[in-house]
């Protein structure tokens, strides 16, 4: 890949990723489009089963071959990823794109020294000698702020704490200087104090290396202060996408609003009643034909069940949402008020909690 490429590093268009299972076709990712510029970070937020992890692996081309059906386009610096042979794809992994996984306890090989786990891709992709690669690994460990890096090179993963292991994983991912870093729930398995250290580290490295970064998480708090743009996923689809500040200040999608309201907030007094989202996400085998959030939505009307809303543009540039009765609009307000009056939505979601709360 040459640096001369103009435009976004990554362009995803109508990406679909389905899994064949005995129960039927699971539509894990369903028509997702997004693009990402160099030096920018996009946050992908969703609950488990929303398809966010499948999306990130699908972008990498890292899905198992057997039972996966993939459609749509993923272009990395103009190159269509789906057209690459496995060998070409391997040359992409490391120097072009790299990934960090959720659980640092299981994502390092337990029987291999840390040094070797870092140097193997350096030696393979960058053709460095054994001693050169060791120097590089040492520098990497220093840059991810691991104390006593020389000693660590000869240690095994079980000798490190979770936070240290995630730092090693970051060093492994950064080893060949990728332009796109995908961090798939990098801090979910970590304690809160370690989480902030790791997020700071990722942000620092992303800025210093001018990388594009995809930060996948279920926690709106994690992406709030650290991304340029956020995409909210629900049941395999992007339901809202906006620049970070716009999303929080002018959210249109009832799901985004409900998600934010269901989280206990530290500044609220104790025993504040939470606005829980009733029910649970729909089956990905036979999702509702209308809006996928409709069965749980407080704004839902008959139209929502009949017709799937497309991604619509909001007034702010770069803000898209998937809703017929968006939050903060006259239609949305009317829909909500109607449901409040009738104490329930057309499918029977109880709205009285909202009145009491």
């Amino acid at each position: 890949m040459d640096d001369a490429h103009e435009g976004p590093v990554l362009e995803v268009t109508d990406l679909e990723t389905n899994f064949k299972t005995p129960a039927g076709l699971v539509r894990a990712v369903d028509g997702v489009s997004l693009s990402l510029e160099r030096g920018k970070t996009i946050g992908i937020v969703g609950e488990s089963g929303s398809g966010k992890s499948v999306l990130s692996r699908s972008i990498m081309g890292l899905l198992p071959s057997g039972n996966v059906v993939r459609k749509g386009s993923v272009r990395y610096q103009g190159q269509e990823i789906g057209e690459l042979t496995p060998n070409q794809l391997r040359d992409f992994w490391g120097p072009e794109m790299a990934m960090i996984f959720q659980d640092p306890m299981t994502s390092l090989n337990p029987v291999m020294k840390i040094g070797n786990q870092i140097t193997e891709s350096i030696r393979y992709h960058l053709d460095q000698s054994k001693s050169e690669s060791r120097e590089t690994a040492l520098a990497l460990l220093q840059s991810v702020r691991i104390p006593e890096p020389t000693k660590r090179l000869n240690e095994y993963p079980h000798q490190l704490s979770g936070g240290m292991r995630q730092r090693v994983c970051i060093a492994v991912a950064l080893a060949c200087g990728p332009r796109l870093l995908i961090a798939d729930e990098p801090t979910t398995a970590l304690d809160v104090t370690v989480q902030s250290q790791i997020l700071d580290l990722l942000q620092g490295q992303q800025e210093a290396r001018f990388m594009a970064m995809i930060l996948v998480t279920h926690d709106l708090g994690v992406v709030a202060g650290r991304t340029d743009e956020i995409a909210v996923m629900y049941a395999g689809q992007i339901v809202e996408r906006a620049p970070t500040k716009v999303l929080f200040s002018k959210m249109k999608m009832p799901y985004t609003e409900a998600l934010l309201k269901s989280i206990p907030k530290i500044e609220n007094p104790s025993h504040t009643r939470l606005l829980a989202i009733s029910g649970r996400p729909p089956s990905l085998v036979s999702p509702p034909s209308g809006c996928r959030f409709e069965p749980r939505c407080l704004y839902a009307q008959d139209r929502c069940r009949e017709e799937m809303p497309p991604l619509m543009l909001a007034e702010t540039p770069g803000h898209e949402y998937r809703c017929w009765f968006p939050v903060g609009t006259p239609e949305g307000k009317a829909a909500l008020e109607k449901n409040l009056r009738e104490k329930e939505t057309p499918v029977g979601v109880d709205t009285s909690a909202l009145v009491n709360g």
């Binding site: 708090g221 202060g225 200040s249 989280i263 206990p264 939470l274």
Partner: protein
């Protein structure tokens, strides 16, 4: 430590834990100091939140209160009766008064039994009621936790989602009309939207059945939401106890402050208070630091912190901290009576 002391204990509490120590053998001559002399109490109808990061001993504390495993030393008293001195059948007789809910809702339910059997089991174990009365009670409690009894009773746990399994676990804990329920990370394994349902349910059940709760979790916001009193733990010790609103507003312990500043806030405009976080690694529970256990990572640590273990003292209304140099309340007075705890190793 983050320290010892019992200044924060109250009179007339329902459950009183004093100097609780739990140690596990870890090979010849070594032991894990999981819980090292903590004291806590809960008054009737209150929710005590126990918060801390992984490895701080909060779950071990919960289980030791239930005498499962039995603590190495210390006393646990329920309405003045020391559970720690009861054995065998006498201890078993106290079981119905305290129940527990666990983190992993799927592991909490026997996959080979039907939900109706699982929920009815406590009544059969204690021989309460006849078959009809038992079924009536099962139905009542299942409905209370928001599960349709007719659909649920003949099914097995794997046919339910994590959130529903957690509801079923709560129902089982309620069957014997307990006075206290210890909730050990009950929402950590659940998605955010389901988490809110379970938290609301716990509040409802507490009101409906007049429960006293001990709520153990690592998420400070969740703990604040449900608690009347919060205890922060670090490496087997309690560092700070207080009412949630004041404790979160004005943390006295440096560790609490660091924890609070590390929470990611879902608001891009929020100023990220960079309190420097806490550096360093959690010390090994095999060989904890002398004096205050937090001193190896504390930004304000001084010589005294290594030599002398801080005691609990009141720094605000009902707000207690075990720290020599807390963020509020001034330096602790010198106390020569406190023996210097030096690590044996």
């Amino acid at each position: 430590m983050a320290g010892s002391g019992k200044a924060h204990l109250r009179d007339g509490s329902l459950l009183r834990v004093e100097d609780l120590v739990v140690e596990f053998p870890a090979g010849p001559g070594r032991k894990v100091h999981a819980v090292s002399g903590i004291s806590l109490d809960v008054v009737e109808g209150e929710t005590l939140g126990l918060v801390g990061e992984s490895g701080c001993g909060k779950s071990t504390t919960g289980k030791a209160i239930m005498q499962m495993p039995r603590p190495t030393s210390g006393t646990v008293a329920f309405e003045g009766e020391a559970l720690t001195s009861l054995k065998g059948e006498a201890l078993r007789q106290t079981r119905p008064t305290m129940q527990m809910i666990f983190q992993d809702p799927i592991s909490s339910l026997n996959p080979r039994r039907k939900v109706g059997d699982i929920i009815g089991e406590p009544l059969r174990v204690w021989g309460r009621g006849d078959a009809d009365e038992r079924e009536k009670k099962v139905r009542e409690v299942l409905e209370a936790v928001g599960i349709d009894p007719d659909a649920a009773m003949p099914r097995r746990p794997h046919q339910f989602s994590g959130g529903q399994c957690q509801r079923i676990s709560i129902a089982r804990a309620l069957m014997l009309d307990p006075r206290v329920i210890i909730c050990d990370e009950p929402v950590s394994a659940l998605d955010v939207s389901v988490q809110a349902q379970i938290l609301n349910l716990l509040e409802d059940m507490k009101a409906r059945y007049g429960l006293t709760l001990i709520f153990i979790a690592h998420d400070l916001a969740v703990v604040k939401n449900v608690s009347d009193r919060v205890a922060v733990m670090y490496l087997g010790k309690v560092c700070e106890v207080g009412p949630p609103d004041t404790l979160y507003e004005e943390p006295a312990h440096h560790y609490t402050a660091a924890l609070l500043s590390a929470i990611p806030v879902p608001d891009p405009e929020a100023e990220r208070l960079d309190a420097g976080g806490i550096g360093g690694e959690l010390p090994s529970p095999l060989d904890p630091p002398s004096g205050c256990r937090f001193r190896t990572r504390c930004p304000e640590a001084q010589e005294r912190c290594a030599a002398e273990e801080p005691l609990m003292r009141e720094v605000g209304v009902n707000h207690f901290v075990a720290c020599h140099f807390p963020r509020i309340g001034g330096t602790a007075p010198p106390d020569a009576s406190v023996p210097v705890t030096v690590s044996q190793h």
